[in-house]
């Protein structure tokens, strides 16, 4: 901070380095400035006040920004510099599969013949696009061992909701209405809320000492009132649900369905097909397993793959192939209806398609193998320095806790924040809920051995710091745009927008 005299005032200037201070777009700019050029007027400008009654019209857009193009570019460039992405470094966020996002796929999505195409453009003029979607559906069917796919869901949770509605419709077609859904205690929160939105009551199944669902428990809870089970496989502890085939049999015997949350499919491509284990439907997260970027929180894409008995209930429209021609079929009397307008997040879908073509069968298998190798290598490297609640081989991710650090009054949160000072994105913390103080790490296949070694070394150093200088952890992070933020204040006095009066 330095002070300088401007006229008769003294102004303070902060030495923020490259982490520049950047006000909100509403707090800068000047009257009449804009960063947009309107196309040339080649028709007459109507007199709005003559054409429309005055109560149809608004006053000026109060508070709206007034910026030049340069203002806008500087603003958002600065904001971007306060963010951390996969391209910035290692991002071991468990259950999120933060793998590298291939650049060519971004370019492909911007090709005019995709990006500029209207969803109502006649079918005869979008044959290539429909072909791409149809083929992606068949690739995903092959990878999961299912029969048909809808690409309509916009995200994983949206795929879950589509799936539970398909189950509801299938039961309805049998003249049945069931009340409950079984969900293990290791499940993502969305599984529970999806069941509720689909009007089912959630019954929790306790996982066993090996972190998986015991078939005996399913047997106890399964009856003709239960619509089905939602299983994440591999689960959020990073374990393959080794009894899934047996569980599926139990559920099917009582007329229920097996829903699989495929968020963690990155461990299984080319290794095992979920369809072979008795799964009736599985949603996939194209933004995890199939390398499409997370976008700072969407857009994602959550296709749902199903066994053919459930095909009549898929959302409309369904893409079909007749001879060499592709068409959108809306005539599906048993369909659950529609989950969103148009056909799905095509701009995301095509990146996943490009990824699968770039990898091929061999490449996808290699990706899963290296993802599992990386996770086990990380687990082995940290064992001893951090408490490992389930000491057994994992698949795509591993879960540690803060138990060894607790005695120094250091928590999972402190460890996570200290990692930021060393230039890493922290793991997923405090999830899954069955593990107290969880640190859930998923390295993915796109990290090399040197990066993992650097991370392991850093984590071990942090464990030592927790013993010797715990304050360092509690005060972390230091070398960032903002220090630890007051979340309690944010929730107690919510300020959710800028206001000119503030």
């Amino acid at each position: 901070m330095c002070s300088t005299k401007v006229g008769d005032r003294v102004e303070k200037i902060k030495d923020t380095g490259l982490l520049q201070d950047e006000p909100l777009i509403f707090e800068q700019g000047g009257k009449g400035r804009k960063g947009y050029s309107l196309p040339q007027w080649d028709t007459e400008e109507v007199e709005v006040n003559r054409l429309l009654p005055s109560h149809f019209l608004r006053n000026e857009l109060e508070g709206f920004p007034q910026l030049s193009e340069v203002d806008v570019v500087r603003h958002f460039t600065r904001l971007s510099q306060w963010n951390y992405g996969v391209d910035s470094g290692f991002y071991p966020l468990g259950s999120c599969t933060m793998k590298y996002n291939p650049k060519i796929n971004e370019e492909v999505a911007r090709m005019k013949g995709f990006a500029h195409i209207h969803p109502y453009q006649p079918e005869s003029l979008v044959q290539g696009i429909l072909k791409l979607m149809y083929e992606l559906g068949s690739f995903l069917s092959e990878i999961t061992g299912m029969d048909q796919v809808t690409l309509q869901p916009a995200a994983g949770a949206h795929g879950e909701l589509t799936g539970m509605m398909v189950i509801r419709a299938a039961l309805h077609a049998r003249g049945e209405k069931r009340k409950r859904v079984l969900v293990p205690d290791t499940a993502h929160g969305t599984n529970c809320s999806t069941s509720t939105v689909a009007s089912y009551q959630v019954v929790e199944i306790k996982s066993n000492e090996r972190g998986v669902i015991p078939p005996r428990k399913v047997e106890e809870l399964m009856d003709e009132e239960v619509a089905g089970i939602m299983v994440t496989n591999p689960n959020t502890l990073g374990f393959f649900e080794e009894h899934l085939a047996e569980i599926a049999e139990i559920v099917h015997r009582k007329g229920g369905f097996v829903y699989c949350d495929g968020a963690n499919l990155n461990a299984l491509m080319g290794i095992v097909k979920l369809g072979d284990l008795g799964v009736d439907m599985v949603h996939l997260n194209l933004h995890k397993t199939f390398s499409t970027p997370h976008g700072g929180g969407g857009p994602g894409s959550g296709p749902l793959a199903i066994k053919k008995e459930l095909a009549p209930f898929l959302p409309i429209p369904v893409i079909e192939k007749k001879g060499e021609a592709y068409r959108l079929n809306y005539d599906r009397p048993q369909s659950i209806g529609r989950m969103k307008a148009f056909y799905g997040n095509f701009g995301v879908i095509l990146k996943a398609y490009a990824y699968i073509l770039s990898m091929g069968a061999e490449g996808l298998r290699r990706a899963s193998e290296m993802a599992v190798l990386n996770a086990n290598y990380l687990m082995t490297g940290l064992k001893g320095s951090y408490h490992l609640p389930y000491d057994q081989p994992c698949v795509h991710e591993c879960v540690f806790t803060d138990r060894y650090q607790e005695k120094h009054h250091v928590s999972t949160l402190d460890i996570a924040k200290r990692l930021i000072d060393y230039g890493f994105h922290p793991p997923t913390i405090y999830f899954p809920l069955v593990v107290k103080g969880a640190l859930m790490m998923e390295p993915t296949e796109t990290e090399d051995k040197e990066e993992l070694d650097r991370f392991i070394k850093t984590m071990i150093a942090i464990a030592r710091e927790a013993e010797e200088n715990p304050e360092l952890l509690r005060q972390a992070p230091r070398r960032v745009k903002v220090r630890r933020l007051d979340e309690v204040l944010a929730a107690r006095k919510p300020k959710l927008r800028w206001n000119p009066k503030d």
Binding site: L24, V48, T196, P393, P494
Partner: protein, 448 residues
Amino acid sequence: MEDYLRYIPHTEEDVQKMLKAIGVKSIEDLFGNIPKGHRLSKPLDLPGPLSEIDLIRHMEGLQSPIVTSFIGGGAYDHFIPAVVSHLTSRSEFYTAYTPYQAEISQGTLQAIFEFQTLMCQLTGMEVSNASMYDGASSLAEAVLMAHRITGRKKVLLSQTIHPEYREVIQTYIDPEEQEIVLIPYLKGEGRTDEKILAQFLDQDVSAVVIQNPNFFGVIEDLQTIGERVHQKGGLVIAGFSEPIAYGMLRPPGEFGADIVAGEGQSLGIPLSFGGPYLGIFTTRDKFTRNMPGRLVGETVDLEGKRGFVLTLATREQHIRRERATSNICTNEGLCALMATIFLSCLGKEGLRELAVMNLSKAEYAKKAASQIKSCKVAFSSPTFNEFVLEIKGDPEKVLEKLKKEGILGGLSLVKFYPELNHHLLVTVTEINKKEEIDQWAKVLEKAL
């Protein structure tokens, strides 16, 4: 080297060293917990791997032709300044996850805070979430929220709402909990029939849902709607699919809307054959805790410096699980960023000018069409940038003739409204040059 290896860094030497460190002999041993009988013995049946250039060639072959178009109906071709694509291509934005770790996500968080503010200003509301999947699912979530707040059963849905949005609402509601009453439109005017609406408006109504401008491009007269619905204790939900209109039209917040939910694709997001788009969702302060989706709030760090965090998460699925307000997890973060940059570029004046240009061009096309003998404007109400034409002849055949001349002349309405079997929805934006409109009118006249 295998082509797929460009994304996987492991050398054979790395693999051996890592296996040794783990204490296993082979990769196969890592999958020991997967029952052997279920493990695949042969490779997946998939094409590829393709090199980068072969991939480009393949993808180029799948592209669709770009043609002059007068199709809208919930997805609009607007000009997107180069700035939008350049800035959203910064990988610090697009390769980041949801901003759970606030200290290294201030870029995303501040941008969403700005987005929330812009959406409030645009719709005339008090609070906005960080976005939803798209306009249709956003409107459906609004209907669910009104049901949570009022506990009432009946939803009055105007027939002039985008037909696909209505289908999504129908899919989302539980028919045992809620019932939809469709309110027809006035035949000659193309706007919601207020008299019929009044007949159905009673103490059981949870919400009245109206889209403005509606699916026909008609500007609905909402002057008295808020008061009338509120008198009966229900909520007003205003939908939209063309937010550029709010550059000049009075926003729903000023008509007493309780929830505004719609589509933001027009705000700098490419058409991309229907997605990803941007669900916008705004409401009143008093309903904040009933909202679905993520929220970003302002706070301070431990040195007192301003910063932003995800907040009020106790409504959300990852905290509240089966008692959450919605199962939505992700938003459409990057699309919200596109809209924020787009609106920052346009600014106060730009958005108004753009709206006026859309209106003016559509009026020009309307005039041109009404001079054609076998063709008339179907509805007398004022419209924004699209309008319905009634033509003599089969719309499909007419559109086919236009297509042969390289023009997508409009959207046939019969598949959405069986009674509108000689009708085209025609959309004109700032993209359509005068010569294109003249050519469209000329070919249309010839085709009839």
